[in-house]
Amino acid sequence: MSENVTAARPSAQEPVKFKKQNQAKEIWRRFRKNRGSMVGLFMLILILLAIIFANVIVKYSAATTQNLSIKLAGPSSEHWFGTDSYGRDLFARVLYGGRTSISIAVLATISSCIVGSTLGAIAGYFGGKVDNLIMRALDIFMSVPDILFTMAVVFALGANFVNLLIALTLAYFTNYVRLVRSQILSLSDLEYIEAAKAGGASSARIILSHIFPNAMGVIIVNTTLNVAKIILYESTLSFLGLGMPPPQPEWGQILAEAREYMRSAPHMLLFPALAIILTACAVNLIGDGMRDAMDPHLKS
């Protein structure tokens, strides 16, 4: 701790100590100085804990058991977030809905990152015809607006967890192809890659152990920010009636149901909307903080 403080703010009395620091530690030190991102991290940890231990906090049956005698009740000590149009406990629905929403978002981000980065790495590293083929195909692919394409895929395959994952991956992998390709193109010109080539390193080795670690920062930041985007995107799909089928709760779906009862039960809109907004804000704060922490321009 004291070393970090010294490194951050060297005072006039003490001589500045230069200590070899590992890069992750250095990034973490800069990240920690950013108050906003620490708030985001704290919020995200709270949200994750709440949804992971949802079964300890409230029983799953509360999220699905219908009790029409208490339908559309406002928040009370018994039902913290009130109840929905079937008398189901909204607090339980928001918690368990978070499980679905966040796990889809995280998995879809990971799979689109893997698919997109691989294609981008191939296009960027091999260049020429391969690059041309991949990028032109991508141009055509990207001419169909995301939302229409995802709607078509979910419509054609049917709405369930795996198909939503496929649809979201198809909508988001394109970002990674462009990102990773441009990273590789800019890194390939650097001298250390030339040195590795001269040393006889194989293509796979150059990509995996020389280019990837250096492109990693940008990819991680984008991946983080993508999780927030996919949470919003997926809730929109649910709102349009193309999300997870009921009765399994999911944030966008709870909101879609809330629409009809906006006048009599605005709490049905408030709580799931807050859940989405807080999660997206937390993830964005972390992403922005990481970008600042990794940006070499700001290195002091």
Binding site: A137, S143, V144, T236, L255, A273, I276
Partner: protein, 313 residues
């Protein structure tokens, strides 16, 4: 320069062919039985089979693709709706204009508000002029468009009762749908313009300009702004995707008879011709707008202009 434009316009042809193919390919996986949906549950099986045959529903993908293209080029027809049995063009095109109108309003609002605010935040960094729009943009970027639309609906229609909640009959009707489309993009534009401007302010040529003794206002408005606006222009093209998503949501939420709402509605009836035609019409418009933005960009950016002039000469 012309070479670049002609190249880009020619690429429109494979793009449109590719788009139609991708959409047909995806929708080819759809289970279901349009004949059955049209004739109802009690219709005899033979009639259903015959109708499916007539509609070309059982054809293999490539045959469907060639038929579709032939029909489109020779007859200028998008086929017949499974659901209303009307020519698809009659359903899609009037609704397309509605969506286009809303989208244009949305893009104008989000650009005219978002870009200047983004510049303001960057120029006045670390003051209230920076913090207030930045925080606002940050929060708005985390709200899904449909939640925003529901909040607008709740406040202005249900509580204050000053704006109509559906349709597009009077000019007041346009306010909420276009805000619902424009606000998320405005937030994005603020953030994007800010980072582009900040990056440009950090460049060496800004230090050079200051070292030469240029006035601070000249440095910002002439040197930094010009370079910062280039990526912002490309960004307006990239906004189109978000705009279409906003249109689908807003039309659905405010019961506007646009193309997005049409596609979502017909999904329930598995009305493939309408879904395909709607998606194709939007995608082609999207491609053409992206092309126009790219060409404008090439005209403005002297680096791209120089690249293509050199090739020619």
């Amino acid at each position: 320069m012309y070479r670049y434009i002609i190249k880009r316009i020619l690429f429109l042809i494979p793009t449109i062919l590719g788009v139609i193919f991708i959409i047909l390919l995806v929708l080819n996986f759809t289970p279901g039985n349009p004949g059955r949906s049209i004739l109802g549950v009690s219709a005899p099986q033979e009639a259903v089979d015959q109708l499916n045959q007539e509609l070309g529903y059982n054809d293999p993908l490539m045959v469907k693709y060639v038929h579709y293209l032939k029909n489109l080029v020779v007859n200028h027809s998008f086929g017949t709706s499974y659901f209303t049995r009307q020519p698809v063009a009659n359903e899609v095109l009037p609704r397309f204009w509605v969506t286009l109108k809303l989208s244009i309003i949305g893009i104008i609002i989000s650009t005219l508000v978002g870009v200047p605010l983004g510049m303001l935040t960057a120029v006045k960094q670390y003051t209230a002029w920076d913090y207030i729009p930045s925080v606002l943009a940050f929060l708005l970027a985390a709200i899904p468009a449909f939640v925003l639309g529901m909040v607008l609906l709740f406040v202005f229609s249900l509580k204050l009762n000053i704006l109509p909640s559906y349709g597009l009959n009077t000019w007041q009707c346009y306010i909420m749908p276009s805000l619902c489309m424009a606000i998320p993009i405005t937030a994005f534009n603020i953030r994007f313009t800010k980072s582009s401007m900040l990056e440009s302010i950090r460049e060496d040529y800004i230090d050079t300009a200051r070292a030469k003794g240029a006035k601070e206002s000249t440095v910002i408005w002439k040197h930094a702004l010009k370079n910062a606006l280039l990526p912002v222009i490309t960004n307006i093209g990239l906004n189109m995707g978000g705009l279409i998503m906003g249109a689908v949501v807003a039309e659905r939420l405010f019961s506007v008879a646009g193309i997005g709402a049409l596609i979502v509605d017909r999904i329930a009836y598995k009305d493939e011709p309408v879904i395909i035609a709607g998606t194709i019409v939007i995608s082609i418009t999207f491609t053409i707008i992206m092309l126009i933005v790219d060409i404008i960009y090439a005209f403005i950016d002297p680096r791209i202009r120089a690249k293509y002039t050199r090739i020619k000469g």
